[in-house]
């Protein structure tokens, strides 16, 4: 068993605690994107000591509303302190707001308004090429976010400039706040859409599987001459049957009973993984 798969359940509990402490958060997308961010941070050349290292890898959380998972992962990597985040998240005057802010260690750019991250990453990737640096640039977008026109401006530019140091990940959980992504604004064949913009496209069957994600990131690193997008098919609200595949949990604040049930299930799932 990959230890990251187990850790994902510990960090889901952290996310749950952060959200309940702060009185709100985007729990559905947090839970679907956990393995993506955790796997990515296990691979990226980043650390608290290298915060200003020009050769560090860059990550921009374009779906900025899933900041609670980013906080949990940054705490795990030593950038932030989990007890402090839990205590201060969304509180009056806090630096731990409901979207990424780059005055905090480990966060490159502010986000929250959707459809910015990919274009920002195009700039970062171009800078890396100009300076002949080997760092890689990553962004994570939601599937609902792909309705933003600016995403496709960035997609076009990355393909045009053949930015093989850039990798985008789509948290493809098929749900957004109003319901199914295919009902709200259909993506149809996302693979074909990105391929048409001259991207290398990798479909990850289970985007909550650390090993499948690692294989996809390996393939992205080895892909030359074009940017890579990983379409990670995930489960919104992953971790508890209470939340899974329910659009109503996009921004649902668990009550005490729900909190206890989710915590219990997270623990059970973690123990089941450890028994494998």
């Amino acid at each position: 068993m990959n230890p990251l798969a187990v850790k994902a359940y510990d960090l889901r509990q952290d996310v749950l605690d952060i959200i309940v402490s702060g009185g709100g958060g985007h729990i559905g997308g947090d839970m679907s994107s956990m393995e993506i961010m955790l796997t990515l941070y296990s691979r990226m050349n980043v650390s608290p000591e290298k915060q200003n290292d020009p050769n560090r890898d860059r990550f921009v959380l374009s779906k900025g509303h899933c900041v609670e998972t980013l906080y949990a992962v940054l705490c795990d990597k030593g950038f932030l302190n989990i007890e402090e985040v839990k205590a201060k998240f969304s509180k009056f005057g806090s630096e731990y707001i409901g979207h990424p802010h780059n005055t905090l260690p480990g966060i490159e750019m502010n986000s929250g308004s959707l459809g910015h991250g990919l274009s920002v990453c195009v700039g970062m990737a171009l800078a890396g090429r100009m300076d002949q640096k080997n760092y890689r640039v990553y962004t994570l977008m939601g599937d609902g976010e792909l309705a933003e026109g600016s995403v496709w401006e960035g997609t076009m530019a990355a393909g045009h400039y053949k930015l093989d140091n850039l990798c985008a990940v789509i948290d493809r959980n098929h749900l957004q706040i109003s319901g199914s992504t295919e009902d709200v604004m259909a993506h149809h064949d996302l693979h074909a859409r990105f391929a048409a913009f001259d991207w290398h496209v990798i479909d990850v069957q289970d985007g909550n599987d650390v090993d499948q994600l690692n294989a996809a990131f390996d393939e992205a690193e080895n892909t030359k001459g074009m940017p890579t997008v990983i379409i990670a098919n995930t489960v919104k609200g992953k971790g508890s049957v209470l939340m899974e595949n329910k659009a109503s949990w996009h921004h649902h604040l668990p009550n005490a009973e729900e909190y206890a049930a989710i915590s219990k299930e997270l623990k059970e799932r973690k123990e089941a993984l450890l028994r494998e």
Binding site: P54, R58, N102, E108, M109, N110, S111, G112, S113, G115, H116, S119, V120, C121, V122, G123, M124, A125, L126, A127, G128, M130, D131, G149, S150, E153, G154, M156, A157, H160
Partner: protein
């Protein structure tokens, strides 16, 4: 008659900087011709990024480059970069604190008969409302050089509006008083103060001369730094005056006139009249014809001032 537009001077300054510093990067959105940036793109192709007709992408890419140490100059028509990319300017430049200089070319009514889609009469108001965004409208080619030389030395974002057409010199080549974020006093006076920015500075300079010759002692102030507005310089120049007239190539709301009135009303209350474009699409014509029609010329300003003064 000066034949060199301010945008051509910007290109000169950026080329000089790029020769010494490979981190100076220019981005255009199919706008290198209108931005006078073709020569930069040809001379420094490795420091030039073409993004195509995609202004949102232009600004975000400029911010991404800046976050990796580049000094990004995003050059695109003022009407598009200021409002179509408004959110990218707010979030990726100002909020994320990246060193992106947003250059709005062909500002105001430079594009003349092309109509309201191509006019930027809202850019001062829009950009000034963003926390951390500075707003500069240089008045002539000499001040444009000084301003860009200063901007190359700092690391904060800013919006700079330049016009399309050459404008008459306000300053002499070897005598350009310039201090960053400080208004320049063009002339002193005791009765009336004229305040302008950008292409309206030359008309107030002319108007001040005409009014002085008619016995109305008139001062003129070049407020190229609309944000941060030079409050100290404004209050000093306004002291003892009976009337202040602001002149701008902008909608009548939220621009230089609004900001000057805010400072004057709070500190040294007196009559402030704002001469600006109307709250409607402007009449069809060249920018010169438009200025004449709305009284935004030296003689037009004189006429308005005399009416108020005598009234």
């Amino acid at each position: 008659m000066n034949k060199i537009p301010n945008r051509a001077i910007m290109c000169e300054v950026l080329k000089e900087a790029a020769a010494k510093d490979r981190n100076v990067v220019v981005l255009c959105s199919d706008s290198r011709g209108s931005g006078s940036m073709t020569s930069f793109a040809d001379t420094y192709p490795q420091q030039f990024v073409e993004v195509g007709i995609a202004e949102q992408n232009l600004v975000s890419i400029a911010a991404g480059l800046a976050s990796c140490g580049k000094k990004s100059f995003a050059v695109s028509p003022a009407s598009f970069i200021s409002t179509r990319s408004y959110e990218q300017c707010k979030v990726d430049c100002a909020y994320s604190n990246t060193n992106v200089k947003l250059v709005g070319i062909s500002g105001g009514v430079s594009y003349g008969a092309l109509g309201m889609t191509h006019h930027s009469a809202q850019d001062i108001a829009a950009m000034s409302a963003i926390p951390g965004m500075r707003v500069y409208l240089p008045s002539d080619r000499h001040q444009t050089r000084k301003l860009f030389e200063a901007l190359l030395q700092d690391t904060q974002t800013a919006y700079i509006r330049l016009g399309r057409n050459p404008v008459e010199d306000v300053y002499e080549e070897n005598n350009v008083p310039f201090e960053m974020n400080k208004a320049t006093v063009l002339s002193e006076g005791t009765d009336v103060l004229l305040v302008a920015c950008g292409e309206m500075v030359r008309p107030i300079q002319e108007a001040a001369k005409l009014l002085n010759s008619q016995g109305i002692s008139t001062g003129a102030l070049d407020m190229y730094c609309v944000k941060p507005l030079d409050k100290e310089g404004l209050l000093k120049a306004a002291k003892g005056k009976r009337l202040i007239v602001t002149v701008e190539e902008h909608a009548p709301f939220g621009g230089l006139g609004s900001m000057v009135a805010q400072v004057i009303s709070a500190n040294d209350p007196k009559k402030v009249i704002n001469l600006a474009l109307p709250d409607s699409p402007v009449i069809t014509g060249t920018s010169k014809e438009v200025f004449e029609y709305y009284g935004l010329t030296g003689s037009g300003i004189v006429k308005t001032v005399l009416e108020i003064w005598k009234g």
